[in-house]
């Protein structure tokens, strides 16, 4: 297990700071009076240059960044230092040195980004006092290197791989006919009933896929669920109303409903008018949907996807017309409002599982069992992590500290 060691640079800096703090008192005593400092304005304040300027490649990039570090000028002490700023100069392909970045006193590091792999760069750093400056030795010319693998994301890769493999495994197992138990999800059990109610009442179904575009996963989930809902709806003679707030969602939803009607063997019942674009504007869309709700009084309202503040406006209006409402979102901040105002709410993960659940196909259900493996891993890791954190903090058990460090390292987001 690789644990991170602090480099020497911070230690060195710490030592320097300690040194300066210890000289604090005498500096304070030798502080000149105001008149003296006025005279000092005209006097030359000489300054020593930064030393040991080192340039190294920035790791795990496409060869477009270099790291520059140095030991601050010995006149850059806190407090009472003479250095007022540093200036980094850079030369590209052995050309002229140009100033590229100004830094505060105490700085000892600079990351230079947006470089080109095929050029060579050299640097020097200049320390400035009020009226003097001193430049460091220039570095030898270097090119940024490109790495092919993001080695520090190895653990992210491993975690992604384990969860993916679990999903694959159960999809395969289900395909082979292994019997899988999936518990009932109340909100999804209610879908058929809700559609049936609309049929009985002869009123339309309103389907709202959230207010974000197709680049949000929740919208994608809403569209996949739409496929299942439309498949059921196609069997009945009921109207689907789907106002949307994004043009791409309109196109995708039409494609989805059309396919569902074709599969159900009723391609003629499909019409593009089922899906209607309103506006991209959040509250403009809400105003229009509220209008549709009170004027057409749908029997069933689906609110599935990404919702923001409008969640409660829509759900309360839907409630006022006595519609059955099935809601679902993965935005934790909006869930309370759906819970309060809707009949059924799909909480977070259930929204993403809904399409698979409704399909009833074994391989789709298999993927849900794969997700459970992820949850199991999370639970085990949390138990170990909590125990390790407790023992490491309360009784300072060294082994537990190592376990804790190792776990936080593996579960770190680089």
């Amino acid at each position: 297990m690789r644990c991170r060691q602090p480099g020497h640079t911070p230690l060195l800096l710490l030592a320097l700071i300690l040194l300066f703090v210890s000289t604090d008192v005498c500096v304070a005593q030798s502080e000149p009076d105001p008149a003296g400092s006025l005279m000092a304005d005209t006097a030359r304040v000489t300054v020593a240059p930064p030393t040991s300027v080192i340039v190294t490649d920035h790791k795990y990039d496409n060869g477009d960044a270099l790291e520059l570090s140095w030991v601050p000028s010995i006149d850059d002490r806190i407090p009472g230092g003479k250095v007022v700023r540093y200036q980094v100069y850079r030369s590209v392909n052995e050309g002229e040195y140009l100033p590229i970045q100004e830094l505060l006193p105490g700085s000892n590091f600079f990351l230079d980004e947006s470089l080109h792999r095929d050029s060579v760069y050299s640097y020097y750093v200049t320390a400035y006092s009020r009226n003097d400056s001193a430049m460091s030795v220039a570095t030898a010319p270097v090119s940024p290197q490109r790495e092919w693998l993001h080695v520090d994301r190895a653990w992210l890769f491993v975690i992604a791989l384990i969860i993916s493999l679990a999903v694959f495994y159960f999809i395969r197992a289900a395909r082979k006919g292994e019997d899988l138990f999936i518990r009932k999800i109340a909100g999804l059990e209610a879908v058929d009933e809700a559609i049936g109610r609309a049929t009985e009442m002869g009123r339309p179904i309103l389907y709202i896929p959230g207010i974000l575009d197709m680049d949000d996963v929740q919208t994608l989930a809403a569209i996949t669920i739409l496929g299942r809902v439309a498949r059921t709806v196609a069997d009945y003679e009921i109207q689907v109303r789907m106002p949307v707030s994004r043009s791409l969602v309109m196109t995708a939803a039409r494609e989805t409903i059309k396919t569902a009607y074709q599969t159900a063997g009723r391609p003629d019942s499909y019409s593009d008018d089922m899906v209607q674009y309103v506006t991209d504007e959040q509250f403009g869309y809400v105003a229009a949907v509220d209008g549709i709700m009170v004027r057409e009084k749908p029997a069933t309202v689906f609110l599935l996807g990404a919702f923001f503040a409008e969640s409660l406006i829509l759900a309360e209006t839907g409630n006022s017309i006595n519609a059955i409402q099935i809601a679902g979102t993965a935005r934790p901040a909006q869930l309370p409002f759906f819970i309060a105002a809707c009949d059924f709410t799909l909480i977070g993960e259930e929204l993403f599982a809904a399409s698979a659940y409704l399909s009833g196909e074994p391989k789709q259900l298999g993927s849900l069992k794969g997700q459970d493996v992820g949850k199991f891993i999370a639970m085990v890791v949390i138990i170990i992590g909590v125990i390790a954190a407790t023992l490491a903090q309360a009784w300072e058990v060294p082994f537990m500290q190592q376990v804790y460090d190792a776990l936080t390292f593996v579960f770190s987001t680089q």
Binding site: R146, L226, G348, F352, K363, G374
Partner: protein
């Protein structure tokens, strides 16, 4: 062809973007593809805008219910489009941002869109009240927990929270309502949020895999049936 090509595209693009996270030379792909998406979305405006105009023109020509309002929509749409695309009245001309102060575009935004959006948003104050009245009832154990948690937090935000429980001495001040509210926000609330988020993370991973592998294809060629 009609089904295989789209499935292959989804598989290729999805896999590429997942792998690119681990390959520094390809790391910029994610950003590029996000911009690609934005560009395609603007092309889609032709479909959306066209649909909006068509729906309201049909309503108008067939004299459907509420047809006069369709004139409002169409006029507002045309006006804003012309004013914005030609940057009419923009003090900075074509090079300036369309929302420069003083441009007609920005003026319409300020006196039409801003009040409309803000007022629509403010309807929440009313709906929050009607939802609380109906939903926070002690119907069963779960609903009671919901009610109690909400009530403590609400009470903690008014002077009465402190007035009612301010007498509690410092050693027990966890039970002063404002402190209890903070404790609930910091611990049980956080726990619930985390459980939901961990579930969401897994749900997205699994759904993405189903889409990339073409198991979920309702939006394309539908089921294999």
């Amino acid at each position: 062809m009609r089904r295989e090509v789209p499935l292959a595209i989804t598989f290729f693009v999805g896999t590429l973007l997942i792998i690119s996270v681990f390959l520094p030379p390809a790391e910029g792909l994610g950003e590029d593809f996000t911009v690609f998406f934005d560009i395609i979305a603007v092309f889609a405006f032709f479909l959306g805008g066209g649909n909006l105009v068509r729906v309201h023109l049909t309503k108008l020509s067939r004299r459907k219910e509420d047809w006069p309002y369709s004139i409002v929509t169409l006029l507002g749409f045309a006006l804003m489009l012309v004013v914005g695309l030609f940057k009419l009245g923009n003090p900075g001309g074509i090079a300036a941002s369309p929302t420069t102060d003083g441009s007609y575009f920005q003026s319409i935004f300020d006196s039409v869109l801003l009040p409309l959006g803000a007022t629509m948003y403010s309807l929440l104050a009313f709906f929050v009240a009607s939802a609380s009245y109906r939903a926070f009832r002690a119907k069963n154990r779960e609903a009671t927990i919901l009610l109690v948690a909400a009530f403590i937090i609400l009470l903690g935000r008014t002077p009465f929270g402190m007035a009612l429980t301010g007498f509690i001495p410092e050693q027990f001040d966890l039970f002063q309502v404002p402190n209890l509210a903070v404790w609930i926000m910091n611990f049980p609330n956080l726990a619930g949020q985390r459980a939901i988020m961990i579930g969401i993370g897994l749900g997205v991973v699994s759904m993405s895999l189903r889409l990339i592998l073409g198991i979920e294809r309702t939006y394309l060629g539908g089921d294999e049936r």
